[in-house]
Symmetry: C2
Subunit: 349 residues, 2 copies
């Protein structure tokens, strides 16, 4: 694979495994609360000394906290909906989450910034091995791991990489990408889950198929797709500048930065749009700073996280004010556009 | 008159007198270049020791310099068109200009920042008295001063005050203002001369009638109108905030500031629009700084002035880049929106 500047495209990597225990019926068939909570106890005892896990019973978790964990992709809506029986183990660095009694008995996930599928798989595989040592998984020699939904049958593995694709999204490039991925048994969807539109030009590439292919092959397929799509995105970015012209393109980026760093109120959707332009500017060297810095805002500025930072729930309008002030201060602190950077932009045209 | 905050409405004051000499035919009937230039000689000799005047013969003035003087309202297009015979005397502080052989033999003008019709009239009247001591004016006991165009007959006086009327312009208030002014023998027009639209929400209020009324009455009529219109504008600004709401209004101002202080390219028309919002923000206390500081940009950022500052002519696209960079640096230097100001805005909502 040729050298591709993944830093400016790949945002984060996630690998999750779906597992069920052979001694219990699937969560939707669990007869009593007791047997469900037995699984929770068993698992948390088992993992007690492995990582600095914290156990949250969904039943007693405040709705704001649940929303916050969902925004961070540590839990799913299905886990919340299932709250009578469900729980989650989360590592203190928030990289590992193990949802218990969601659709399957457990959904183990490793989440990290950047692009490293092998590392993510190794980490979550390590957890998986520890669990399997004492609690037998439902496994069929022909089919592999048994899951509640047939789409997860086999490896139970979903490898996902979140990509920032502003150029492909702004041109018509995404259509061809989505088609090619589908042909390769992969899928691209909006960053915020199935059916969500690609706010902030963020797309998650992951495997659709889990059955009849080894874990290694699945990881390789996603990795290869990420490489191809990233390279396409980078060349599309160059074309974007050529087509718009350096002046118009730079102006668009600088105006987005000007509005985002000075506005008095902003909703999440517009924040995402402007942040995408600012990130594109950073990726293209028009602004200083790093995408990683800016992606932190992407998480921080979601509604439940704002409530958490504020210490008490805010109305929608209050959140928009909070967001504008917070983002303005953060961007000024990042020094994305110093006087000397500005002069350099002018001299480079 | 009640206390009106003119600082936030009145931009500048101008008083001009149209005069002709009895011993020469009107400029359009001057038979030879010689007699026309005789007037120039006579006048410049007469005023040599009065002010630090500089004489420019329009015939030999570079077109760029002529355009520059026109942008500053020190000369008119008619003077440029008449360049074979015309000249101008300009004081070193650029407050006094005396156009020679424009439509009339002389057009004496005093121009100043702020609102002070009496001061402006006294200053230009002083010059007028000195000239009349040795060069007799064409004067009729019944009609008054004789002028080439009957609209200037009588006093030959035009008293103008430039007003910044963003609230009246954004609501429907201007229509009623224009009607009322017309009934009082006054007129309101766009800042850049007759027929020009009100770019940057700048309107010039001046007397239409010059005949049959004393200079004092004319000045008083304009002064009164300025007071009334300014008071209307100020109350309309309060209503503007009430109608838009503090948050939406503040957001609009801050976004205009953000774009204007960060854009990479901007044409004069959009610059004027955004500057008007920034000025409104300063006037309403949403931004720090002073309108006077910002109004300097209004003159500096006009095309011919940019060429002058650059030292050589720029293309239109180059001017737009120059403007964006210059305005950005100037606005950052003015510290209109510091971190502490921002915090204050949030706490005040």
């Amino acid at each position: 694979m040729s050298a591709v500047d993944f830093e400016n495209v790949a945002v984060s990597t996630r690998v999750r495994l779906a597992r069920n225990f052979s001694d219990y019926p699937f969560p939707n068939r669990l007869k009593s609360e007791e047997s469900a909570l037995e699984i929770v106890d068993l698992l948390s005892a088992q993992l007690k000394d492995v990582e600095d896990f914290k156990l949250h019973y969904m039943d007693t978790l405040e709705p704001e906290k649940a929303e916050f964990l969902k925004e961070r992709n540590l839990i799913s809506q299905a886990l919340i909906d299932n709250k009578k029986y469900s729980a989650v183990l989360i590592s203190s660095d928030r990289k590992i989450s193990i949802m218990i009694n969601e659709e399957d008995h457990i959904r183990e996930q490793y989440f990290m910034g950047g692009f490293d599928l092998n590392h993510a798989y190794e980490r979550i595989s390590g957890i998986d091995d520890i669990i399997s040592e004492t609690i037998p998984f439902a496994y069929d020699k022909t089919l592999g791991y048994l899951t509640a939904c047939p789409t997860n049958l086999g490896t139970g593995l979903r490898a996902s990489v979140m990509l920032f694709l502003p150029a492909l999204a702004q041109t018509d490039g995404m259509k061809a990408v989505v088609r090619d991925l589908k042909n390769a048994g992969l899928t691209a969807r909006g960053a915020f889950g199935e059916g969500s539109s690609a706010e902030g030009h963020l797309f998650q590439i992951s495997n659709e198929v889990t059955l009849g292919v080894s874990e290694l092959k699945l990881l390789q397929a996603v990795e290869k797709a990420v490489c191809i799509v990233s390279a396409k995105e980078l060349s599309e970015r160059e074309r974007l500048v050529e087509r718009e012209g350096y002046t118009a393109f730079t102006d668009r980026i600088l105006r987005a930065y000007g509005v985002l760093s000075n506005c008095f109120t902003i909703d999440f959707s517009q924040f995402m749009q402007l942040l995408a332009d600012v990130k594109l500017g950073v990726a293209m060297g028009i602004l200083d700073g790093s995408l990683q810095q800016l992606d932190v805002l992407l998480t921080e500025m979601r509604p439940a996280n704002i409530d958490r930072m504020n210490g008490s729930p805010l109305s929608g309008a209050e959140k928009d004010l909070y967001r504008a002030e917070y983002v303005g201060r953060a961007l000024h602190g990042m020094e994305l556009l110093t006087e000397s950077k500005r002069s350099k932009l002018s001299s480079e045209r």
